[in-house]
Symmetry: C2
Subunit: 154 residues, 2 copies
């Protein structure tokens, strides 16, 4: 046992279903295309054809997924106009979308550390101090938290 469970959670006899926030998150962004489109949005890509080209998904898949992400409020579809061009739309991350960043970084961190490829991928650095950035667990009092110091209460 690695984690201490208390309350209803410890007594559960069957699936917790919608009460699990991991599951609820996955219902919204649980596909590869959703994650990778959000990655691109985080990288600063906003135009439809750039999102298509840089993720490698087909236009059909991208259009469908982008629409879902907009519906769920992770992206905002915003009109803009370049001089001499007609009105277009760009997709920009909302606050809800930005809040997924720790999750994306955590997945990337695992991939860099544990997937076979040795050229793991881009290393995230802290601008200015240049030290590597990691995702860590920390309590509101500022203590670093390791796994067996964690209690789940429901």
């Amino acid at each position: 046992m690695v984690l201490r469970l208390t309350g209803r959670l410890a007594r559960r006899r069957g699936p917790v279903g919608d009460r699990c926030p991991i599951d609820r998150t996955l219902q919204i962004v649980g596909s590869r295309s959703a994650f990778l489109l959000l990655r691109e949005a985080l990288y600063g890509t906003t135009r439809f054809d750039d999102l298509v080209r840089l993720t490698g998904f087909t236009e059909a898949v991208a259009a469908k997924r982008l629409k879902e992400l907009v519906d769920h409020g992770l992206l905002e579809r915003r009109p803009y106009q370049e001089p001499g061009q007609r009105t277009r739309h760009e997709y920009v991350l909302t606050d809800r979308g930005h809040d997924l960043m720790p999750a994306l970084l955590a997945l990337a961190q695992w991939g860099r550390t544990h997937s076979p490829r040795k050229d793991g991928g881009p290393t995230p650095l802290h601008d200015g101090c240049e030290a590597e950035v990691r995702v860590v667990m920390q309590c509101a009092a500022g203590h670093p938290v390791v796994e067996d110091e964690l209690v789940l209460t429901s």
Copy 2:
């Protein structure tokens, strides 16, 4: 733009494919069943029928996914024997599996904050100090990092 990209990453003209560690992670644990089985494993559930009952997946799905997770080294299938019982197997998280915890916690954190249900789900607390635990970005020098202080180098 929210994140600064440098090197190859900034110059890329097409999909990065396998060079993206997020994508590589998703190829391994990118399904709902994989995530939820890992969640259960993290909760300390080890036996096949408990994993089936508590995640709500069918035995067929659970068996298949567990096999994959074992193959990828996130779980270990380990024989054990209770007195007067025949030999059985339990599934326990390996170090590779444990390392996914920040990602799971980050997904849970997003779900609790942003998904409609008001009873968000279990709150993770720091054992002893009882403060809420969150996933945060931090550099090796110990500074908290916000999104626009992040540079990706490849």
